[in-house]
Symmetry: C2
Subunit: 332 residues, 2 copies
């Protein structure tokens, strides 16, 4: 392998096929299915090839991913790790590995950064970034194929979970023909696709279901039907027993309503500020510009901001701003 | 083609490649994505091959499927159709085509029944039943391939919708490696997979979202956390503006709660009776046996019954029966 920063898939494969190295596999803080699934798949493959391997994550294994084969290997950092090489997966910037992980791997002589985020900063000694790939799990699948590591059911279950979760069950625009073909190959290792998807998708904590009930009680639809919004106060979160992060993605429920062009979510934060999330369903309405008026930003279809509270006042200000911008962008 | 009742894929292909016939394509009442998607895909292919074609459905085109290419072709039956051949797709029994459709096609000399339902009664002059196929759309894809009809984007969008909806976005246990490989081939015709999935999945009528809010208000979890239930009265449905069928699949929200083994849904019907739906998440609890006690039936994991009302009394009787059966089946 040449000492260039940017690796090829063949270079990555050579790392797996080389002499045993003590490996660390890690991924980003608050890990999702792609972070954990791709890390565990790589760790299981490394072990098969005779490399001792440690799987580190700043926040450990989320409860919702405990079903993944090898999940018990995920440990939180505690002190320096004695290793030869670190693989950082699905992680765009080095700080996003977490302070504990960065401290633990500080003395390891080689850091390899493998990711699919467009925003990846190319940190580390070497990197392989494929931003056309919908999931780091799909990159790991190609990597193991290049290294001629046979897929087994345990590796496949991790890769399927990684790919499925990062493509919204094969629905997002990042999904490619290769994604579906990988799904076919992965389940051919003997996966029970119905059972696995139940584990991935049909397992919500009761508090999330209760939280949805709270939010639906305060659902507001504008007179013209084009703006849907709801809000979450500390009191509502308390009644549901919600934890931080439980409200993530819930805006999809109102974004999906027929006729809605803009969805807005207002969440009261512990510091009294209000977190605003805005989703647009029509590119003529720029969510990023709207949030920019309140000191935030993001993308055209999805953006956010932090506002001064209380929630009621923040809502009024933002909703009237949305209506104004919406009428200008897309006359009713 | 020989005059045997059971056709091969080659026989089906020969029907498409033969001399022009006046065709009717139809499917079941209250059509879903597979019924309409497979019917429109076949109709578009027949047209390409020079066959005049009429698409009939007893209930017409559902609003949620108006985006499908060719959707404007779907008509409700009105009087007898003058045609040479009827293709009945995704329809298990002849009555399920609907009275109007059956009257309209009564004079057509050949009825070909193409379906994936295990329960298909083999009605019609000829049939092709593949119960291992997750969707009639997947059968139509194989049929068009056998007939060497090139896929185009319009056909592919219908087939993708058929296959995706009948597999729960490639999640159900009926999904096979071939299903994913068909998805790859279909999107290779140039489909925008993100846009198409938004049309399929992110478009709920407001009344369905409101209905979910009503149901979540009456969510009941048993003391041991193993039984989740809710109910729908006519009053609640009225507040949400719900239409018949809107509550379908909503039981998935409570079946998916962590720790829940049995989910039950009680719906007040216009005749004052109560429709019970039961879902089991553990094969040791037999939903079918439970519903059998109330004159109903179904499968081990999903069953139903109709009970005398009012809802409150039906709930009490059924929930105590569920608890008793659950303790016997799976001691806490």
């Amino acid at each position: 392998m040449s000492l260039i920063a940017s690796l090829s898939l063949a270079d990555l494969a050579a790392l797996l096929r080389g002499a045993p190295r003590r490996c660390v596999v890690t991924s980003h803080v608050r890990p999702d299915g792609d972070a954990i699934g791709s890390a565990l798949a790589l760790a299981l493959a490394l072990q098969k090839l005779g490399h001792p391997v440690v799987v580190l994550n700043e926040d450990g294994l989320p409860d919702a991913l405990r079903f993944l084969p090898g999940g018990e290997r995920v440990t939180r950092p505690s002190g320096a790790v004695d290793a030869d090489i670190v693989f950082a997966l699905d992680n765009a910037t080095q700080p996003r590995l977490g302070d504990g992980v960065n401290a633990a791997i500080a003395g390891v002589p080689m850091l390899v950064n493998v990711d699919h985020h467009l925003s990846n900063t190319r940190y580390g000694h070497h990197h392989y970034i494929d931003s056309a790939s919908p999931a780091t799990g799909q990159i790991v699948a190609e990597w193991l194929e290049a290294a001629e590591v046979p897929l087994d059911a345990a590796i496949a279950e991790n890769l399927y979970t990684a790919i499925s979760t990062d493509t919204g069950s094969f629905q997002y625009s990042n999904t490619t023909p290769a994604t579906y073909r990988w799904a076919a190959r992965l389940i051919e290792t003997g996966l029970d696709v119905g059972e696995l998807n139940r584990k991935i998708y049909q397992s919500s904590p009761l508090r999330r279901v209760k939280l949805l009930g709270e939010l639906l009680q305060v659902l507001d639809i504008s007179a013209d039907g084009r703006v849907a919004s709801w809000f979450l106060t500390a009191e509502m979160a308390g009644r549901a027993g919600a934890l931080p992060g439980d409200s993530e993605d819930m805006i999809d429920h109102i974004r999906g309503i027929d006729g809605v062009v803009v969805a807005a979510f207002f969440e009261e934060l512990p510091d009294g500020k209000v977190r605003l999330s805005v989703r647009s369903k029509d590119a003529r309405f720029d969510a990023s510009a709207l949030c920019g008026r309140f000191g935030g930003g993001g993308h055209r279809m999805a953006a956010g901001a932090r506002l001064a509270g209380p929630v009621g006042e923040a809502r009024q200000r933002v909703l009237s701003s949305i209506h104004e911008a919406l009428i200008a962008a897309i006359p009713a």
